[in-house]
């Protein structure tokens, strides 16, 4: 700004200072007539100061949000600069971004704002870490690639009995999604027995899920995003092993949640579901090791003949690898 003095009389000096002190655009709006004098008086000296040189990708910068909620647009502003680090004030460069990582997009062409800035947007659906590579005229800009962490706002289960039912609804969503996928692409070689059992269980879990959603009505949590990348749906062992994990977990979760409910009506409803989950668990376990003691094995039933019981704080970490939507269970009753 000060590398060359503004020539001329006091009026131009005044105008120049005013332009610096306020915004030039506002100044334009305020006094168009006087501006004409100023612009004319400035001649080819933009802003009344030294103009920027040729655009330099390596010196251009971008403002990138470090974190963003999934489903919301990420807005990135690129500032074109010259080799001296001075902002360009006119457009014309080709700015583009390519997103890799949790989400994939691009190349995305930027909107040229015509003032040396460019605006890029993309909307990530998946949570995780994205790498956003930005180029200007084909060359990476300073700081590229940028990292954007995509989070979701945690879904709150709520409080009281409704919170406990939402907790159950979350688990049923997980189970229903798993069996829906398992049955839709059943592993090769599944026996008629295995097909029948997996299909029945899918039907039951879908009904549990939809029932709880209907029961909770407006209080129901939204649909959760699930992640079964750790499951090999082409593998019998992987599918049945995951099913066993989910069913045993579901049984222990309902057993532990009963004491959190205040309403005897809801307790009964939970009881009606948990015994079916236990039936599932036994059937899946019997598929894995037929005619053995595993259907109610010593790994899940203790020496007093008691099945497992887990509180939400001990269940959710086990479900977490399969549910990408963050869940806030802090409102649940603890006793």
């Amino acid at each position: 700004m000060n590398d060359r003095a503004v020539p001329g009389a006091g009026e131009l000096e005044f105008l120049s200072q005013l332009a610096r002190a306020t915004s030039r655009r506002k100044f334009l709006e305020w006094s168009g007539v006087t501006l004409a004098v100023a612009v004319v008086g400035c001649g080819d000296d933009d802003n009344g100061m030294t103009g920027p040189g040729a655009v330099s990708a390596a010196d251009s910068t971008a403002t990138v949000p470090a974190t963003v909620a999934g489903g919301s647009a990420v807005t990135i502003t690129v500032q074109a600069k010259d080799a001296g680090g001075r902002n360009l004030t006119s457009g014309g460069a080709a700015v583009a971004a390519t997103v890799t990582g949790a989400n994939s997009a691009g190349p995305i062409s930027a909107v040229d704002n015509g003032d040396g800035t460019y605006t890029l947007t993309y909307t990530p659906a998946n949570t995780g870490s994205d790498a956003v590579a930005i180029t200007l005229n084909g060359t990476a800009i300073s700081g590229s690639p940028f990292t954007v962490t995509v989070t979701s706002e945690a879904v709150s289960l709520g409080t009281g009995d409704a919170g406990v039912l939402n907790y159950a609804y979350a688990l049923e969503q997980l189970e229903a999604a798993f069996y829906t996928q398992a049955v839709a692409s059943l592993y090769t070689g599944a026996t008629a027995e295995e097909t029948r059992i997996l299909t029945d269980i899918r039907d039951h879990e879908v009904i549990h899920r939809d029932f709880l959603k209907a029961a909770l009505a407006a209080g129901a949590i939204p649909d959760l995003s699930v992640d079964f990348t750790s499951v090999d749906f082409t593998s019998r062992d992987s599918v049945l092993g995951t099913a066993r994990t989910f069913e045993d977990l579901g049984v222990s979760a309902y057993n532990g949640a009963g004491q959190l409910l205040e309403s005897a009506d809801y307790l009964l409803l939970a009881g009606k579901i948990v015994s079916v989950e236990a039936r599932h668990a036994a059937a899946i376990r019997d598929l894995l090791n037929p005619l053995s003691a595993d259907f109610a094995g010593d790994d899940v039933v203790d020496a007093q003949g008691l099945d497992q019981s887990r509180l939400p704080a001990n269940v959710l970490p086990l479900a977490d690898p399969f549910i990408t939507t963050p869940i806030d269970a802090s409102g649940l009753p603890t006793a």
Binding site: D200, I207, G258, D265, K272, S275, V276, R279, A296, G305
Partner: protein, 264 residues
């Protein structure tokens, strides 16, 4: 939602019940502590027994637990008798023996647990007739009959515990213990039901289907396809809807079923 919801429509007087439960929990705080002891390994049972002998269990809970104990006595003696008959060569359990041995182990443990909790309040074991006066005369010689009765007993046990859960809601410790027995009975029920089929498939109850007339009361009401005020057939078939939810039985209905096998 066009229909009233469970949360919105079930019980306008819920608040009063909730408050009473809170009060009950406070009042039974001492009991909860005692029951925590009961849930420790069996070696500590003697301490629990002493504690309960002091009369700290509310009469209502003693009543429910004795009802459960009677059913556990029935199951325990049934399986031990069957396993003995298998060893004696009268009842050929074949490849199913491991399943029944595991169930028997659990029923024995349930009897011991309930006895230790109830202490001096525990009811005595009745005298059983598993032929039900001759209706199931070959129960300990015909594996098919043995499996049929086992399935009936397990399904009855699941429904019985479920029906009593609400009566235990005031005590978290007792309730959770009962739920943990309840799901074990359901695992048993699934395994035995699959043994009864060829080929083995469903471990769940479809509608109120049952092929043994004497056991019809065990399945009465299981065909329900509406829960709360929600019609489940909008989410799946009637068969799946009935399978997805197990129904409770009242104490009276359970006692009528068990009564067929109790001589005195």
């Amino acid at each position: 939602m066009k229909s009233p919801t469970v949360l919105g429509g079930l019980d306008p007087d819920l608040t009063a019940k909730v408050v009473s439960r809170r009060e009950a929990m406070t009042r039974s705080g001492r009991l909860a502590g005692v029951l925590a002891i009961a849930s420790l390994p069996a070696v500590f049972g003697v301490f629990a027994r002493r504690a309960f002998a002091q009369g700290t269990l509310p009469a209502g809970i003693v009543d429910v637990l004795n009802f459960a104990l009677t059913l556990e006595y029935l199951e325990d003696e049934f399986y031990r008798t069957g396993l003995d008959a298998d060893i004696a060569g009268d009842l050929d359990l074949g490849g199913t023996r491991a399943v029944f041995a595991q169930i028997s182990k659990h029923e024995t443990a349930h009897v011991a647990l309930l006895q230790s909790v109830l202490g001096a309040d525990a009811v005595a074991k009745p005298t059983f007739d598993f032929t039900a006066g001759g209706t199931f005369g070959d129960v300990f010689t015909n594996p098919g009959t043995f499996i049929t009765l086992a399935q009936g007993f397990e399904d009855t046990g699941v429904r019985a515990y479920k029906g009593q859960a609400g009566n235990l809601i005031a005590d978290n410790g007792v309730l959770t213990t009962a739920l943990r027995i309840h799901s074990v009975e359901a695992r048993h029920a699934s395994a035995v039901r699959r043994l009864a089929q060829s080929p083995a498939e469903k471990g769940w109850i479809t509608l109120a289907s049952n092929t043994v007339a004497a056991l019809d009361p065990v399945y009465a009401g299981e065909e329900l396809t509406t829960q709360g005020s929600v019609d489940l057939t909008q989410f799946g078939s009637a068969e799946a809807a009935s399978e997805a939810f197990d129904e409770p039985l009242s104490r009276e209905d359970v006692e009528a079923i068990a009564g067929m096998f109790i001589v005195s």
